[in-house]
């Protein structure tokens, strides 16, 4: 292969070779570029509608490196506000979450209402006529929008609408959002962790079917030990599977999985007493959506990557995971569980139990994923080996989930954003 190329990727579709320059994982200048060209241009996940259910509910949250407030105003409109006083900069919201009519800056007591408007300035008569209170409300990202409860912000007013941006990913968000007629909710409890690795390694890992068996052997042994029938549901050769480039850098793998799915796919460890309940739920999905869509919702698992840094994996439970680089070799990760808003207490307990078997920083799988990402990052110190290979399945007509089509979809979009001229970029259809 040509190691002399100095770009970020080698994408040779004739030969079927795809390589990523490891500089993309290690170079501080690359990260500085990513902040401007990727994170300041793309739609970035902020939170879920269910996290601010009532007027005045708020969550303070770091999004793309910025402290923000996700708040439902007294007018019932959900807003994303930049958490910095327009006076001299202090955070105006210093609690993690709560319910408030106003946010008062602790420094000089400027007061903002739940819509972000400036409603109180001590000693306002000391300002000239040029000082306009209505121009001094809390700032907001140029674009904020939501799709089926998932709230995003974008720092570039010229970026396509969220609807267009999500492109083919909408279908897969629908398969999650359709799991309840009363909407989905984020469950209490945030998994806040990290990895000493570049953030894009977690993108790759989150829908990497190839690593399943070697990295997570202990998880599959556990499933087998507790009585899950693994026959015909081997992760390496599932009976149904596909990997899809969803446009705009989004991608998904969808497959028949061995593990039980609390929504409506029963396995023996869930207990005989639950079997009829699961059949009843399945019957209702069949009625609502017809057998094919119902089968996808109930039985298949999906690892969905929404460019650049949102993962929604609907597997043995649903996790919503987002991450952001602090430095080229360190990222912060936040993850939540998503569940039907009307799920019974018993079903919810089963869902969370199933979640923890695999997922999260204390599960039987995620710690090993973090280990592998950190292991890659340490390996990158060998600068003599300049490129990683992501060619798997490139010449195959229908790449499988153990191929690397999904990663190539990410990298092509990433490379486009990182290398296109900075002047007003042409809009490109998905």
């Amino acid at each position: 292969m040509d190691n002399s190329a100095d770009g970020y990727i080698v994408d040779d579709q004739d030969k079927g070779l795809f390589r990523v320059n490891r500089r993309a994982f290690t170079d501080p200048e690359c990260l500085a570029d990513e902040r401007r060209r990727v994170f300041d241009k793309c739609w970035i996940y902020v939170g879920h509608d269910s996290e601010v259910q009532h007027a005045g509910d708020y969550r303070s949250r770091n999004v793309a490196g910025r402290p923000m407030i996700l708040v439902r105003g007294d007018d019932n409109v959900v807003r994303v506000l930049l958490n910095t006083c327009t006076h001299r900069g202090s955070l105006v919201c210093r609690q993690k979450s709560g319910n408030a009519k106003t946010f008062q800056c602790p420094y000089h007591a400027w007061t903002f209402n739940s819509r972000g408007q400036l409603v109180g300035v001590p000693g306002e008569d000391s300002y000239s006529d040029a000082f306009k209170r209505d121009e001094m409300g809390l700032a907001a990202p140029p674009q904020v929008d939501s799709y089926r409860g998932f709230i995003f912000a974008c720092f570039d007013a010229a970026t396509d609408s969220l609807y267009d941006y999500l492109a083919g990913a909408r279908e897969y968000l629908d398969l999650v959002a359709d799991q309840s007629e009363l909407g989905m909710k984020i469950v209490a409890g945030q998994q806040s962790y990290s990895a000493r690795a570049n953030w894009k390694l977690l993108v790759e890992n989150s829908y990497d079917g190839y690593h399943g068996l070697p990295t997570h052997q202990r998880y599959f042994s556990f499933l087998s030990d507790i009585g899950v029938d693994m026959k015909g549901r081997d992760v390496a050769t599932p009976s149904y599977q596909k990997a899809v480039d969803l446009g705009n850098g989004h991608a998904v793998v969808e497959y028949q999985s061995a593990w039980g799915r609390p929504i409506a796919h029963w396995v023996a460890p869930f207990g005989e007493h639950r079997k009829s309940h699961f059949e009843e739920v399945r019957r209702r999905f069949d009625e609502r959506f017809g057998p094919e869509r119902s089968r996808r919702i109930c039985e298949t698992s999906r690892n969905l990557g929404i460019f650049p840094n949102l993962v929604i994996n609907d597997i043995m439970a649903i996790t919503v995971r987002t991450f952001y680089p602090v430095s080229p070799d360190y990222m912060e990760v936040n993850a939540w569980a998503l569940a039907p808003a009307d799920e019974s207490a018993e079903d919810s307990a089963l869902r969370l139990d199933n979640f923890l078997t695999f997922l999260g920083p204390g599960g039987f799988a995620t710690p090993d994923d973090v280990e592998m990402l950190e292991s890659c990052q340490r390996g990158f110190a060998n600068r003599e080996v300049g490129w990683s290979d992501i060619s798997r399945g490139m010449k195959r007509e229908n790449p499988s989930i153990t191929d690397e089509l999904q990663m190539r979809a990410f990298w092509r979009r990433w490379n486009q954003l990182m290398t296109e001229p900075r002047v007003k970029r042409a809009r490109k259809a998905a």
């Binding site: 209490a188 409890g189 945030q190 998994q191 806040s192 990295t215 507790i226 912060e332 139990d353 039987f364």
Partner: protein, 162 residues
């Protein structure tokens, strides 16, 4: 019938033994300190008082998962602990705080240092234990490790038994 509370020294002996077995990776012996129906939980850092039935925890193991966790950690395929971490647990401020039926409530502070690949990560918090007496021995029915850390950063994971 009221449960007679054990002395602090008897409880300390149990907790210090537990800490030594975990630090020495004698996990089968450690599991022997637990009842057959034991529970091991680590709540999320933003909901330390949460209930694992309705809150997403970091760890909420029933007895089956505790035994599986031990088996996995002693096997070769738990990559996050192969090679193994070194750990050192400092257990202090041990208090016997009361009883619920036959369960003896104990709390203790911990600082657990995890050394791996020349990094040192510190897990700070307290344990809430529920112990049960079987004749001369106290056994652990519940152990909940409640972190004071606001996030697992830069730790990234709880791959050993906290």
């Amino acid at each position: 019938m009221s449960t007679e509370l054990p002395s602090r020294q008897e409880v300390e002996d149990l907790l210090y033994k537990e800490a030594a077995l975990l630090d020495e990776w004698r996990l089968e012996e450690w599991a022997g300190l637990l009842t057959e129906d034991a529970v091991y939980e680590v709540p999320p850092t933003d909901a330390p008082e949460g209930d694992s039935r309705n809150t997403l925890f970091i760890i909420a193991d029933d007895a089956v998962r505790i035994r599986s966790r031990v088996k996995q950690l002693l096997g070769k395929a738990a990559w996050s602990e192969n090679p193994r971490s070194r750990t050192r647990r400092l257990i202090t401020n041990v208090r016997v705080v009361g009883a619920e039926e036959d369960r003896i409530l104990v709390t203790a502070n911990f600082a657990v240092y995890r050394m791996r690949y020349e990094s040192v990560d510190t897990y700070i918090g307290h344990y809430d234990y529920k112990l049960v007496r079987f004749g001369e021995t106290l056994k652990i029915r519940e152990r909940r490790a409640i972190l004071d850390n606001e996030a697992l950063r830069p730790h990234g994971k709880i791959s050993f038994i906290l």
